[in-house]
């Protein structure tokens, strides 16, 4: 069953390449939409059979591949990966839908999109660290090409920068994996086996350090982030949606699964530093976002800030904060996807993303009123206004991290306040006021073009009103992930429990 999520798009990619070029752009488009639609259905079927009360990996598949190398085709999914897996399918569907209908080289474009989807799914599913790494590396190629071919004017620079950064990231991760296997003398790269390692703490710290930097580049964490704004600015809208929505999550997912999961002792040792790192990332990303004039760059820096919350939650490593972290991954995926779609929509119609140039786009007749209203919603969601998914995710992150790192948590909360500052600047400058002369004659926007943003907005609101629909998949898995953690979290949690016990005693 899980294989379907990898092989449908993979075989689909082959199929799209084989389409006769004379058939035009709509065949590859509809074929790939259909295929990704199929993976969405498969994900839903998985969801029906998925048992959230189990902490183990489910639907596991295992095929021997290159046994001497310890590389096996091992797949499985738990509550940590499942929401991300579904989000990958949904966001790819949305990205495909919002792709330019008349794009150049349609077959190559859709092939790469399918390839990207397949490799990301593979990375979320892999139960073998080497297999994970292979998918993690494969995903680079389509993404690199998607930026380099269909990007903006400086696409070459941005794509290469992206490639080099992520290649370094890959090398570091590989070093950590190989080092781990080598030092433990393991003959397999099976995650379950490697997890059992009992290396000396210093070695663990060194290996975790490599992973932190490796995945830190991907997340991205300050100061390894500068590839991201460039990549976002140059990438076309659907690619930005996938980049922010799904690909950054590979970083946090990898960090939790392999960093936190395999080196718990080192993680605990480093966690105060990680929490502080998170603060730096959050505040740095948010402050930098305020100074941006390009809407897309602003949203990109906001991503840096918001991904920092996930690191904070991971550092605290309490069951609640971990749940919050996963929800924040989904929430950030949906919200930043929405924001990139909207910014892209504005760019497609006005030809500009400059917040000093654009004005008054809420104009009901000649502006982009529906996109504008959705932008208000997206901005509010990103700023953590209740009723939308961002709030609950951030609340859980803060509530889960506060007992462990109170100061860092409070500092990170300032980041949410700053989010409101820059996104409001954006909304009020670009959408309020009188429509500026330069954008008085915009082409009309059709409902089909609004559909992706509207559906994301609906998801943002639905999960905001019923966050339990999101958390139920993850809770047991994340709790198990940190259950054997000798962290400060539990010490404090025990205190709290004692406290509340006392308060219960008092009640008549």
């Amino acid at each position: 069953m899980l294989s379907a999520l990898i092989w449908i798009p993979l075989l689909g990619a082959v199929l799209v390449t084989l389409l006769p070029s004379a058939w035009g752009a709509s065949y590859p488009r509809f074929l790939s939409l259909g295929l990704i639609g199929a993976t969405v259905i498969v994900s839903i079927l998985l969801g029906i059979q998925f048992d959230p009360s189990l902490s183990d990996f489910q639907f596991t598949e295992q095929l021997p591949w290159i046994e001497p190398l310890g590389l096996n085709y091992q797949l499985g999914v738990d509550g940590l990966a499942f929401p991300l897996l579904v989000m990958n399918a949904v966001l790819t569907l949305i990205a495909l839908w919002s792709s330019d209908r008349f794009t150049v080289r349609p077959r190559l474009y859709y092939t790469l999109m399918l390839l990207l989807n397949a490799s990301v799914s593979g990375a979320f599913l892999a139960q073998n660290v080497l297999l994970f790494f292979i998918f993690y590396e494969i995903e680079l190629i389509p993404l690199y090409l998607l930026i380099a071919i269909w990007g903006g004017p400086r696409r070459g620079y941005a794509a290469t920068k992206f490639l080099i950064y992520t290649a370094v990231s890959g090398v570091l991760i590989l070093i950590a994996f190989l080092g781990l296997a080598w030092l433990t003398g393991s003959t397999t790269f099976d995650y379950a086996v490697l997890k059992q390692q009992t290396l000396p703490l210093t070695v663990q710290v060194a290996l975790l350090g490599a992973l932190l930097v490796g995945f830190g580049i991907k997340i991205p964490l300050v100061p390894f982030h500068t590839w991201l704004p460039d990549a976002h600015v140059e990438a076309s809208t659907p690619i930005s949606v996938l980049l922010a929505g799904v690909l950054l999550k590979l970083g946090t997912y990898g960090l939790f699964r392999f960093g936190l999961g395999m080196f718990p002792d080192a993680w605990v040792l480093l966690s105060p530093w990680l929490a502080s790192w998170a603060v730096v990332s959050v505040l740095y990303g948010s402050f930098t976002a305020i100074a941006q004039k390009d809407m897309k760059k602003m949203v990109a820096y906001s991503s840096i800030g918001h991904m920092g919350f996930i690191l904070l939650a991971g550092a605290a490593a309490s069951p609640l904060s971990m749940l919050g972290a996963v929800m924040q991954m989904v929430s950030h995926g949906l919200i930043s996807g929405l924001l990139f779609l909207l910014v892209g929509g504005v760019y497609a119609k006005t030809g500009s993303r400059d917040i000093d140039l654009l004005r008054g786009l809420l104009n009901p007749e000649r502006g982009l009123p529906v996109l504008g209203s959705l932008m208000v919603l997206g901005a509010m969601a990103s700023a953590g206004i209740p009723g939308m998914v961002g709030f609950m995710a951030e609340f859980l992150v803060f509530r889960g991290s506060f007992p462990v790192f109170p100061v860092q948590t409070l500092l990170c909360m300032i980041g949410t306040g700053l989010t409101a500052v820059y996104l409001l600047l954006l909304v009020n400058k670009v959408f309020f006021g009188r429509l500026s002369e330069s954008v008085m004659n915009l082409p009309r926007v059709r409902w089909a073009e609004r559909l992706p943003a509207i559906s994301l907005a609906l998801l943002v609101v639905t999960f905001g009103i019923q966050p339990i629909w999101l958390s139920r998949w993850t809770e047991v898995s994340t709790t198990t992930l940190v259950s054997h953690f000798p962290t400060i979290a539990q010490v404090t949690a025990a205190q709290t429990a004692a406290n509340s016990d006392r308060s219960e005693e008092r009640m008549p």
Binding site: N363, R366, R434, P443, R444
Partner: protein, 381 residues
């Protein structure tokens, strides 16, 4: 500050203004003549004529039958209250009569003309008091209120007088615009100049038409604006109307702040320039922009040739109301041209140089007043 060299070089706007004056002197209009402009102006005036007809029927109805009615729930029904009409009314599938009242309030508030003066005269007070006493005969509460607050009901009667006066003004105008459309359909209107001529002739014909207002209370008819007051169409409704609605009007809450501390709105009403000739058409359709109501009403009566022209735009039907507003402003400049020409000290065709000179100064002052209006923008469209 860089010094300007050469006194003769005028800023482009005043050059345009000079050109416009010259065009007016040679029988042209404020709006340049072009085939598209003609289609837009005639087409929109056709639609406007239909809307005005509905407005004036309602204004007259209110003035006659809703006189001092405390709860005029059905004032927009013109006396015909049926279930289906009520449902349509609730669904807001109707003419937005609120806008006609908005224009009436603009006239009332800005005043001007003999009508305004008459409403402050003792003669009017006596006439109005008679009608008030008759209307409220069985209502001691309101009569007491009238005694306590002597201006309260009087002010309401003044409003009613304006309802009636605007209704009478629009009766003439709507017929004039619909007639223009018929003549256009017959091929008699070929240029913007013809449009102006048509309106000018219509205004001149109706110029001395008396403005009178009576209400029937019980079986008795009460004069409010008697013929003896000598109020006439052109000077006492048309001119104040143009001043109040075309030029001054009210600042739109949607675009201008009423915050007293930021002093955005002049304390002097004669400095107001928020009227139809000045308003920015772009925010039409948004909140706090009253003319949206009129543009919305006109969407229902667009002649097919004009509608087709609009559909060809980049946005198709989506920015219909903005396009209507632009056309409407064009047509209002034609009406203004007719009014300006009609009020000129000498016929525009005069060959007498002193008369020409007087006309030149007169036209120059009007065009200068319009310098900040949409006039300049419409020259190039």
């Amino acid at each position: 500050m860089p010094q300007k060299t050469g006194q003769t070089v005028l800023p482009p706007a005043s050059q345009t203004l000079e050109e416009i004056v010259r065009r007016l002197e040679t029988g042209g209009a404020l709006l340049p003549n072009s085939p598209d402009n003609l289609i837009e102006v005639v087409g929109i005036l056709k639609s406007y004529g239909e809307v005005l007809n509905a407005y004036r029927l309602n204004l007259t109805y209110i003035a006659e039958y809703q006189f001092l009615v405390l709860f005029p729930f059905f004032k927009y029904f013109n006396g015909e209250v049926t279930a289906s009409k009520l449902l349509r009314h609730w669904w807001h599938d109707r003419i937005n009569y609120e806008f006609s009242e908005y224009c009436m309030k603009a006239m009332f508030w800005h005043g001007g003309g003999k009508l305004d003066d008459y409403l402050d005269s003792d003669e009017f007070r006596q006439l109005a008091q008679k009608a008030i006493q008759a209307k409220l005969a069985g209502n001691p509460l309101m009569l007491g209120c009238n005694r306590l607050f002597p201006e309260f009901l009087l002010e309401q009667v003044r409003v009613m007088a304006y309802y009636s006066a605007l209704g009478q003004f629009w009766t003439v105008m709507s017929a004039m615009f619909l007639d223009l459309s018929d003549r256009y359909d017959r091929g008699e209107i070929q240029s913007i100049g013809d449009v102006v001529d048509h309106i000018l002739v219509g205004l001149v014909e109706a110029a001395s038409k008396p403005i009178v207002y009576q209400v029937k209370i019980g079986n008795q008819t009460y004069d409010i604006l008697p013929a003896s007051a000598g109020l006439t169409f052109l000077m006492d409704t048309a001119v104040p109307y143009v001043e109040a609605v075309f030029f001054r009007s009210f600042p739109f809450r949607g675009t201008v702040t009423y915050n007293a501390q930021s002093h955005q709105i002049s304390a002097d009403q004669s400095q107001f320039c928020y009227g139809a000739l000045y308003a920015d058409p772009l925010p039409i359709g948004g909140a706090g922009i009253p003319p949206t109501l009129l543009m919305q009403d006109m969407t229902h009566f667009l002649p097919e040739y004009l509608h087709d022209l609009y559909r060809m735009g980049l946005r198709g039907e989506e920015d219909l109301r903005v396009k209507i507003c632009i056309s409407f402003q064009k047509s209002m400049f034609c009406v203004t041209t007719a009014a300006i020409l009609g009020l000129a000290p000498y016929p525009i065709t005069t060959t007498n140089p002193t008369e020409q000179q007087a006309n030149h100064i007169y036209l120059g002052s009007w065009v200068k007043r319009l310098a900040d209006s949409r006039l300049i923008t419409l020259q190039n469209d």
